[in-house]
């Protein structure tokens, strides 16, 4: 035990004691529970199965109970003076409300559902139980207030799991609709998740010895768990798509000399040594394996075209607005207009492209119309972010440049724009993420058939032709209808038609398409982030 005899606050914490260790283990335990709950929520851990030889639900229940007992023991030990802590007189209102909310839910549902007393009684009971939890948190000294109600919550949840009151087969039929029900599959992980958060919070406070330091530790653990869960959610999402998509992606993969399709590199025809039919083929009757090559290439050119259109226009507009235009009515109007454009639903842009662009570009859906439509969608974001970035370039740089006798335009070009570039790139990254996944505008302006044969892959570079009459350069490839990944995915899911017997496993085909879409968007991200990193480095430390 922390056997120091002095009573006033210590400047130096005595070395780790057993109590600290117990509290630390409790914090760790809640982190483990939190991770288990997240994985169970995404069905990576089966509730009906077992972990370490114990049934999953039993394990969760046991851990929760142990954590709750530890938390309560810590509070009691501190109150009775066995553990040296530094508590405040009260745990505070925030902790009070935090503890009240789960108890309101528990009280309400037990009264109205388990005991079958009806909604009215349920509400009253919920409020009453919540009020008791609130009072128990706020009124006693902090060490009791911030452990007892939460510890009890944990123990209760744990016992419910342990005793099998809620087992994996449990479901609560809601009467609103025919099929709405809260199932154990959702409830158990969710309840564990929140209980783990509360347990982590309480035991972190105990670990910090309550008081200011304890609150700091509590907040730290909460914030940390939150950040971790964001990362976890992202990883799980990506992993999920990858796991589902890889089989479809890898159907028919073949490695070996001459297995791949013929490509022409610098006029020499070479057969690639690998063959991944899914990304190298289109869809055709005679194909052994079907693929989405036209859609990949379509998405790629679509994004390139939109960026090429939007970035110069957007950055130019931002330069005008920040550096040249007098701040006033006009700039305000432009600002409102750009913000409004950015919030305009994409289907509206699509309709615009359909009604305005298509008749002007060859009277048919075309890659070019798609590029322009998406370019217009991207434009407002580029304007907004570039403007912000330029406004945040300190005026000192402009003054310094002006004092050297450098003209305004040169100052913008050599000082303001380089300093603003990372911000501009961030904007473009965000925008590309959005437009690469757009379906509606593509559906209206660009998409030809759902399933294109490989021969219809657009060849923008090879499509350039020189003509004797103005405009001297033509590119029929730009005027062809083509496909893009999100549109293809949409068509696969809603229609599901057209695959016929060509694709053995439509589900795998869909997931593989989703995986490719994700990979294409993520690689644009990667390019963007690398660019931004490069420009940042140039600004900071060379």
């Amino acid at each position: 035990m922390a056997g120091a005899s002095e009573t006033d606050a210590k400047l130096v914490e005595s070395e780790t004691t057993e109590t600290d260790a117990v509290a630390g283990v409790a914090v760790g335990l809640s982190a483990v529970l939190f991770a288990l709950a997240v994985t169970a929520l995404f069905e990576r851990v089966s509730l009906t199965g077992s972990l370490f030889g114990v049934g999953t639900v039993t394990l969760l229940g046991g851990l929760l109970t142990a954590l709750g007992v530890a938390v309560i023991a810590f509070g009691a030990g501190s109150r009775l003076g066995y553990v040296e802590t530094d508590p405040d007189p009260s745990a505070g209102l925030v902790a009070g409300f935090g503890a009240a909310v789960p108890w309101v839910l528990i009280g309400g549902s037990v009264a109205s559902q388990t005991l079958g007393l009806g909604t009215g009684v349920g509400v009253v009971a919920g409020v009453a139980v919540g009020a008791v939890a609130f009072a128990l948190t706020v009124l006693p000294r902090e060490d009791v207030g911030s452990t007892l109600p939460l510890g009890a919550l944990l123990v209760l949840t744990g016992l419910v799991f342990l005793t099998g009151v809620i087992d994996p087969a449990w479901a609560w039929e809601l009467d609103w609709e025919q099929q709405a029900a809260i199932t154990a599959e959702f409830l158990i992980p969710a309840a564990t998740l929140f209980a783990a958060l509360y347990g982590g919070w309480a035991s972190a406070k105990a670990y910090g010895g309550f008081g200011a330091r304890g609150r700091h530790m509590g907040a730290y653990v909460l914030v940390y768990l939150n950040a971790l869960s964001i990362v976890a959610f992202l990883c799980i999402l990506v992993a999920y798509v990858v796991v589902q998509g890889v089989p479809g992606l890898l159907t028919g993969v073949d490695v070996g000399l001459g297995t791949g399709p013929e490509t022409t590199i610098l006029g020499v025809s070479v057969a690639l040594p690998v063959s991944v039919p899914f990304v190298m083929n289109g869809v055709a009757l005679l194909n052994d394996f079907q693929g989405v090559l036209p859609a990949i290439v379509g998405t790629f050119w679509l994004v390139i075209g939109a960026v090429l259109l939007a970035v110069p226009l957007g950055v130019g507009a931002a330069v005008f607005l920040t550096e040249y235009a007098e701040r006033g009515r006009f700039t305000q109007v432009v600002e409102v207009a750009t913000n409004g454009l950015w919030s305009t639903p994409s289907i509206v842009f699509g309709l615009f492209g359909f009604a305005f662009l298509i008749p002007r570009f060859g009277n048919g859906k075309s890659l070019l119309s798609g590029m322009i439509t998406l370019g217009f969608m991207l434009l407002p974001l580029v304007v907004i972010t570039s403007r912000e970035a330029m406004l945040s370039v300190p005026d000192e740089y402009r003054d310094a440049s002006a004092a050297l006798g450098v003209s305004k335009w040169q100052t913008i070009r050599s000082v303001v724009l380089p300093a603003a570039l990372p911000g501009v790139v961030t904007g473009v990254i965000l925008g590309v993420g959005r437009i690469a996944g757009e379906t509606a505008p593509i559906l209206l302006t660009m998409a030809g058939g759902t399933f294109l044969p490989g021969s219809q892959t657009v060849d923008v570079i090879g499509g350039f032709q020189f003509t004797a009459t103005p405009p001297f350069v033509a590119n029929p490839a730009l005027l062809e209808a083509t496909s893009a990944l999100p549109y293809q995915l949409f068509a696969l899911i809603t229609a599901g038609v057209g695959l016929g017997s060509n694709v053995g496993d439509p589900d795998a085909f869909r997931w593989a398409t989703a995986l490719i879409l994700l990979m294409v968007v993520l690689s644009f991200y990667a390019i963007g982030i690398a660019t931004r990193y490069y420009f940042r480095r140039r600004l900071k430390h060379t």
Partner: protein, 307 residues
């Protein structure tokens, strides 16, 4: 913008204006007219002649009828309490005040006999010839080398671009010579010669300030305006900058704002004292101003009774 059309009547002093706004408001009745104390006689040429300069920020009258002649190749110190308009005055000399929207400037400033507040003044040329070092160091977020080469490059005096390199006409050597000369002049060379390609933001505050001075020298100005260049520096760096200013005065005309009277006394040839409200109260030989000021208010300020 605050372009000003009228170089007023080109009288050397502004006393004859009868409709001049009253500048004396408080407890000054017992003092003699200011003009005698600001009418500084010196040998040699005036590099800048300021005549009856008024500056307003909106309705705020920040500088009141300042007239002053700044001699060539010397150090002129501007002192006075905070907010009395020293920076404002300095910014008038290279028309940096034009960049402040609310500022209106009235009066005449002649540089080598040429009015700078008139239509058709080439601001780029003016600011090239009248350089400025700001109150807080403001290097560009570029390498040390690029910071110094920036001005000459933009003026087309140095070409190290891709095209020039391809055509084998790159001025890289010339640039490096220039960088070295400016850094040596600014007493920074020894500290940074081995890391010219490092970002300038990685330098210490004092080094950044000297870099800004070097950058200012790079475009070869005739006048250097310095706004408290040593305010953020330790005594050693300050001493370096003071030495530097004294050296610079052999070639350049230096106008320096400072809050540090010992500094003004040490390095300047003549001193101008501004007092609250934006008046130039006394201007003269530094020794005379510090040892035997005419104005009681200036004496109070210098001896620390107020301000």
């Amino acid at each position: 913008m605050s372009e000003n059309q009228n170089p007023q009547t080109q009288t050397s002093t502004a006393t004859t204006d009868t409709d001049q706004p009253l500048t004396t408001t408080t407890g000054e009745t017992d003092e003699r007219t200011r003009d005698e104390w600001t009418d500084y006689e010196f040998r040699g040429e005036a590099k800048m002649t300021v005549d009856d300069l008024d500056v307003y920020y909106g309705d705020d009258h920040a500088l009141k009828g300042v007239s002053m002649e700044i001699p060539e190749r010397s150090v002129t110190a501007l002192i006075g309490p905070s907010g009395c308009g020293k920076s404002t005055y300095l910014r008038c000399l290279n028309r940096m005040n034009d960049r402040i929207k609310s500022a209106t400037i009235d009066g005449s400033v002649r540089f080598d006999g040429q009015e700078i507040y008139q239509d058709g003044v080439n601001l780029v040329e003016l600011r090239k010839r009248v350089g400025m070092v700001f109150q807080s160091p403001n290097p560009f977020p570029k390498s040390i080398r690029e910071n110094i080469a920036y001005g000459p490059k933009k003026h087309g005096d140095l070409d190290t671009g891709l095209l020039a390199r391809l055509l084998n006409r790159s001025d890289a050597e010339e640039r490096d010579r220039l960088v070295e000369r400016c850094l040596r002049d600014a007493a920074l060379w020894d500290e940074v010669s081995d890391r010219l390609d490092d970002n300038a933001l990685g330098l210490s505050g004092g080094q950044q300030q000297r870099l800004c001075i070097a950058r200012c020298l790079s475009v070869d100005p005739e006048i250097i305006l310095m706004d408290e260049p040593a305010s953020a520096l330790d005594p050693i760096a300050t001493a370096k900058i003071e030495d530097l200013i004294e050296d610079l005065a052999e070639e350049y005309t230096v106008v320096i704002v400072t809050h540090n009277m010992q500094q003004a006394a040490r390095i300047s040839d003549q001193t101008a004292v501004f007092l609250t409200g934006g008046e130039l109260v006394e201007y003269g030989d530094t020794d005379q101003v510090f040892e035997d000021p005419h104005s009681e208010r200036v004496e109070d300020y210098i001896t620390g009774k107020f301000g």
